[in-house]
Every structure is written in C-alpha cells, then in structure tokens.
C-alpha cells in the first residue's frame, strides 16, 4: 500500500527557494523510508508518497491546495511552511480531518488550541528572551530596531521590543524596512544609526540582512546585532563581507555549528544528496516527516487524531539519525520542544553559547 502526505508551499515566485528547501528535507525523509521498503501498516508494507503543491505563498491558494490534497489524495497530514497558509488551513482542518504540519515559529499557531496542528520548530519567544538577555548584558542598553516588515518579522520585532523595555532597556529608534522589496537600505539604516544605538535588531532573509549589516558598518556603526531567526548568521556574514563585519551578532545556531553527531550525520547525508549545506527548514521538516511515519507505524493507523496523540512517543522512540535536532517532546498544544540555543560572533567566529 501507499500513504499520501501533502505539502503546500511556495514553489514559484519570490519565495520558491524557501519552499524548495523545505521540500528537500521532506523528500529526503520519504526517500529514506521508501528505500527501506516502507513501513509496516497493519501488517502491510506501506510506502510514502509525497504530494507537493505550489501556493506561491498565498493563504488562499494554500487553502485550495489543502482541499485538493484532502479530497483527491486523502492525505492525513499537510505540511505548510508559512504562517498565512497555516492560519488559512486551521480554519477547516478539524472539520476536514487532517493534520496541519506547521513550519513557523509564530507562537499563536499553537495558542489557538487547534487540535490537529503540530508546530515543528520552537516558538521564537525562547529566542527573544535569550537574545535580549545576552545583548543587554554584553552590548548595552540602547536598541535600534531595523527588522523587516513582513508578517513574521513584525511579530518578532514586537516581542523583542516589549522584552527589551520590560528588562529596562531603551529602544532609541524603531525603523523597520521592507527587506524583500526595498531598493535601498541606506536611508533606513542611517536613520537608525543617527540615534547611536548599542545594538541593532535586524533580520529578514539572510541576504538582505547582510546588506543592512554591511551598510550599518559602512556608516560607522560599531555595536552588535540581534539577528532574527529567519536569517542565518553564516549566510549574513557572507553577504556583509565576512564574519568580521558581523562581530557581536547574536542569533540562532546555524545547523553547521551544531556539534551533535545526529546533526553532523544529517548534514553529511544531505550534502551527498543535494550538494549544498542544509538549512534548518530542511532539517526540521525532515525530522517531522520521520516522526509522522513513525507514529503511523506505531499506531497502525493513518487517522489524524490517533497520529497526533502518538507523535510525542514517536519522537522519543525515533532513531536519532532521523532526528538531527533531537526533539523529544511535544507540548500539549502541539509544539515540538527543542532546547533553545544561541550563537554569537566572537573574534570572527561563530560560537555556541549556553543559555542561562
């Protein structure tokens, strides 16, 4: 037999690369499962068939796709890598009976109490707490806000600001910029710099983030950066002109800096398959799909509710090779629990820091 698993995400348009990266992790997991002859479902060898559909990042198209996946392929789970699509699907997934495999750190995804949603990455409130603590201690009290303007960055920025002020810091300038469309960051950055902050909050896609960082340095900014988790410090550094440029940046630990055997092993296999460095979207979705199948295997069922109930155990029992981030727990609301980590650029190197 065969089970279908759905995916709807941007496969064309501006965010296509992101969609493809997400999909690559899923594909890799499916290939591994099927190469091993599938899994056992009620005594029947069952392979996995991934059905990807393109939604061009549009919530409405994501909803249409999900309907289609449910109706035509009878999927029990749909992977969605953007919060707009997730919200759109949450409108009817309980009624239509399928799991939303949400790849987005927006906390409200799991806060609404949708019983058939699994949030794959950690929410970013953990990062927010850790990053602000670290920056306040090491860099200074004055923060300049220069994040991006898309939905995700907005929520991030708002939380950073709140956290910063509640801890006695001061937000000296608040000037978000459109990272995806802007022709020039010069004006925006100079506006932030003119208030001489100690730290700048930046972050959208890695490349424009790199440009923002570079222009800030060009204009004489000496302080550190709080880098939103969408941007990866290593990629940012590449655009900005080397790790020296991002000295003092605080961000999530790039997969490449993860030192665990599970992560290293995953990176090796991914590189062999796709000939590039995997990002976290590939790794997280890879492990989530494995966990999903593990749960089907364990419960001998493809029923979304049953799977949802069993996913925690599945994560725990899973081979660590399939679990590069070593996720071992699911919250009551359906969020995967990962240990929050933090990386800083010190003396031209990315180092992992313990969180207190």
């Amino acid at each position: 037999g065969e089970v279908n698993i759905g995916f709807t995400g941007p496969l064309s348009g501006g965010a296509a690369l992101y969609g493809e990266n997400t999909l690559s992790g899923l594909r890799m997991a499916v290939a591994e499962i099927n190469a091993a002859g599938g899994f056992d479902l009620n005594g029947e060898k069952t392979t996995v068939n991934l059905v990807p559909l393109d939604d061009r990042y549009s919530p409405a198209q994501a909803a249409t796709n999900a309907k289609r996946l449910k109706q035509e392929s009878n999927v029990s789970a749909v992977f969605v890598p953007h919060s707009g699509g997730i919200f759109a699907l949450q409108d009817f997934n309980e009624k239509d009976n399928f799991l939303v495999m949400a790849y987005s750190s927006v906390p409200s995804i799991t806060e609404k109490g949708n019983s058939l949603t699994l949030r794959i990455p950690p929410t970013f409130d953990g990062y927010v707490r850790a990053f602000t603590d670290y920056a306040l201690e090491h860099e200074g009290k004055k923060l300049g806000m220069g994040g991006a303007t898309h939905e995700y960055a907005k929520i991030w920025g708002a939380m950073i600001k709140k956290e910063w002020e509640s801890k006695g810091g001061e937000v000296v300038s608040d000037n978000p910029m459109d990272y995806n469309k802007s022709a020039d960051f010069f004006t925006g950055v100079s506006r932030i710099i003119s208030e001489s902050p100690d730290v700048m909050f930046v972050g959208g896609a890695s490349e424009p983030t790199g440009l923002v960082v570079q222009q800030a340095r060009q204009m004489g900014f000496q302080g550190g950066f709080i880098v939103m988790d969408q941007a990866k410090i290593d990629e940012v550094a590449q655009v900005a002109g080397g790790l020296d440029m991002v000295e003092g940046a605080i961000g999530v630990v790039p997969l490449s800096v993860y030192d665990t055997p599970a992560a290293k092993d995953f990176i090796k296999r991914y590189k062999a398959e796709y000939d590039k460095m995997p990002g976290s979207e590939a790794a997280y979705n890879y492990l989530a799909l494995h966990a999903l199948v593990e749960a089907m295997d364990a419960t001998e069922s493809t029923d979304p509710k049953t799977i949802r109930a069993a996913i925690g155990d599945a994560l725990k029992n899973m081979d660590t090779r399939k679990n590069p981030y070593e996720v071992t727990e699911v919250t009551e609301n359906g969020g995967f629990v990962t240990e929050t980590t933090l990386a800083v650029v010190k003396d031209g190197e990315i180092v992992r820091e313990e969180i207190k």
């Binding site: 064309s12 348009g13 393109d54 919530p59 249409t64 289609r68 759109a88 409108d91």
Partner: protein, 343 residues
C-alpha cells in the same frame, strides 16, 4: 469546433450553462472542485466589474485588484475587529468600495488613456502599501484572521463549501444579469459611446465625467462585492490580496474571455482558473508557458474567445449575403497602409 462554440453563444446556451452551474456540485468529483469553481466565480464577479470600466467605457483600470482588496479588508476588519456580523459588514464593504471608487474616480478620470492606466497602477500600489503599512488599522503584514463567514439565518451553513458555492453563484448570476441589462440600456450605450471617442460623446450631450465616474464606481463596487465574498470564503487575508498581479490576472481573464462582451469574463475566468489549477505541477515553469501564450493571444485572438466567436459569426452571416456591398473600414485600410511602409 465552431459547432460547439456556436452552441455556446445562443441564449438557450446561457440557460444550459446556468443549469450546469446549478448541477455542478452534484456532478463534481469532490468538494475541492466545487471550491475551485466557487473561487473562479468570485473572481469572475470582479472581472465583470473590470469589464464595465475597461470593456465598455474603455478606461484600463489597473487599481481594480486594489478595490477587490478593499472589499475584502472592509469585510474582514469589520467582522474580525469591530464585531460586526457578516451581512452588515458585507453591505459596509460595498459602500466602502463605492465611496472610495468615487473619490479615486473623480481624480483619476480626468486623465486619459495611458495616463489613466499608469495613474491607476499607482493607485493600486498605494492601496497595497497602505494595507501593508497602516498597521493600526489593517494589522499590516500580519493580516486579518477570524473573519466571519456568511450566516444563513439558520437555514443554511455557508461555512460548508457547497452552500457557499450557491451563494456565490447567486451573486454571479445577478452580476451577469445586471451587466446584460446595462449593456443594452441607454446607460450602457452611453458608456460605449465614451469608449468610441470622448469628444464625439461629449458633443452628443453626454457628461463625460459623470458617466465615467458612474462606470468606475459600478466597477469598484463589483470588485468590492467579489472581495467581500472572497474574505468570507478564505477567512484569512493579507496585504498580498492587493498585489498588482491580481489585477494583471483579472485583465488576462477578461482578455481571454473577450473584452466588452457579456459572457467573456465568465468564460475567461473559469477557463483560466481551471487551467491554472491543472498546470499546478509546472510550478515555476508555468509562466514560461503562460507569458508567451498571453502574447500570442493578444496578437492572434485580440478579441478573446467570445469576441473572436462573434466576429466569426458575423463573417458567416456576411458570407451568406454575398450581394451586400462591402467596403473595408478605415481602420483596416490604415493598417494596411502602414503595414506596407513597415514591411
């Protein structure tokens, strides 16, 4: 081929199409198909609006997608943030798009042709930017969630796909019916006269501004109607609803179907929406095919499906009356003239 087409155009065919639309949920393979059809109908309503201002009145309005988004946002914000229930908010959306249409109309319609088109392009973009940036009102990039679905006064549940489909169908039928009436009425003729030449129209005593604004407001109201239905269907909207690409899409539907015709907008929209759905697998290659297709279409079928068919019908009737004295029109001959000089 044309046999089929000619059947499609007779008045009886319109009833056949209506019957098909009514039966569609029963014959559809699954709910997804009904959902797609409902989406297509929603867009078709907006395209009918575009047909009024662009097809009849001859003014290419590139802010149409913006007004669609205004309709969607008005409904979304009134229900999600201000606690209105669906139908009052729905009316609110119509009023809002009509009023804003009026305001934009009186400024933009003083411009002509390319200037009007580019001006409205900018208006559409301003609408997008405002939705994206005016966070206090619109939630900016975060979008609007928890939009109310239409309630059926205890009779039907419009959160189900099929009842919603019928709701949209009802509005669509009304939209087409009204368009048909309009096009044959003195008012519609007035619009067409303006398209043919505004100086001539004016010398016939037609108040250009008043009529153009009226057509514009009608068209934005259609867009608002479609937008409100869309919001009630998807129930999650973001600034991308105002993306200029939606306007481009609608123009394409209109052009493929046949600009200035009655059935063209519907045929074009339904056709392309389904083609787009079935070309899903092409992903990013879709536009590699679609772009050139669009170009070929405007070169070889400038009047769209319906328009080309009408021309063909006309030719046929001409052929049946060979004794008629014929002289090619100036346009054609002027073409010939320059065609030669450029050859």
């Amino acid at each position: 081929m044309f046999k089929v087409a000619s059947l499609l155009m007779t008045p009886a065919a319109k009833y056949l199409m209506l019957a098909f639309a009514i039966l569609f949920p029963l014959v559809a393979a699954n709910e997804y198909q009904v959902y797609v059809m409902a989406t297509a109908f929603v867009w078709a309503i907006a395209v009918y609006g575009l047909n009024i201002i662009t097809g009849f009145c001859g003014q290419l309005n590139l802010a149409h997608g913006g007004f669609f988004a205004i309709g969607a946002y008005t409904l979304g914000l009134l229900t999600a943030d201000y606690g209105w229930s669906f139908w009052p908010a729905f009316l609110g959306a119509l009023v809002m798009t009509a009023v804003l249409g009026f305001l934009v109309g009186i400024v933009s319609l003083r411009l002509k042709e390319h200037y009007f088109a580019i001006f409205t392009l900018c208006v559409g973009f301003i609408i997008y930017l405002l939705i994206d940036k005016w966070e206090e009102l619109t939630h900016g990039a975060i979008g609007v969630r928890d939009i109310a679905a239409p309630y059926g006064f205890g009779l039907v549940d419009f959160t189900d796909t099929t009842p919603f489909y019928y709701l949209v169908l009802a509005f669509l039928v009304f939209a087409i019916w009204f368009m048909g009436r309009l096009s044959k009425s003195l008012l519609g003729r007035t619009f067409i006269a303006i398209r043919n030449g505004d100086e001539l129209a004016q010398s016939l005593g037609i108040n250009l501004m008043r009529n153009k604004v009226l057509a514009f407001v009608l068209s934005t109201t259609y867009a608002g109607l479609a937008g409100a239905l869309y919001a009630g269907m998807v129930r999650f909207i973001g600034p991308e609803e105002a993306n200029i690409n939606h306007t481009f899409d609608m123009i394409t539907y209109l052009l493929v179907g046949g600009i200035g015709t009655i059935m063209g907008p519907l045929l074009g929209t339904v056709g392309i929406v389904w083609i787009t759905q079935s070309l899903q697998f092409l992903e990013e290659y879709r536009m590699i095919i679609f772009g050139p297709l669009l170009v070929l279409l405007v070169i070889f079928f400038p009047r769209g499906i319906t328009g080309s068919f009408l021309t063909w019908m006309h030719r046929k009737s001409q052929a049946l009356a060979p004794t008629k004295k014929r002289q090619e029109n100036k346009v054609n001959t002027a073409q010939n003239r320059e065609a030669e000089s450029n050859a």
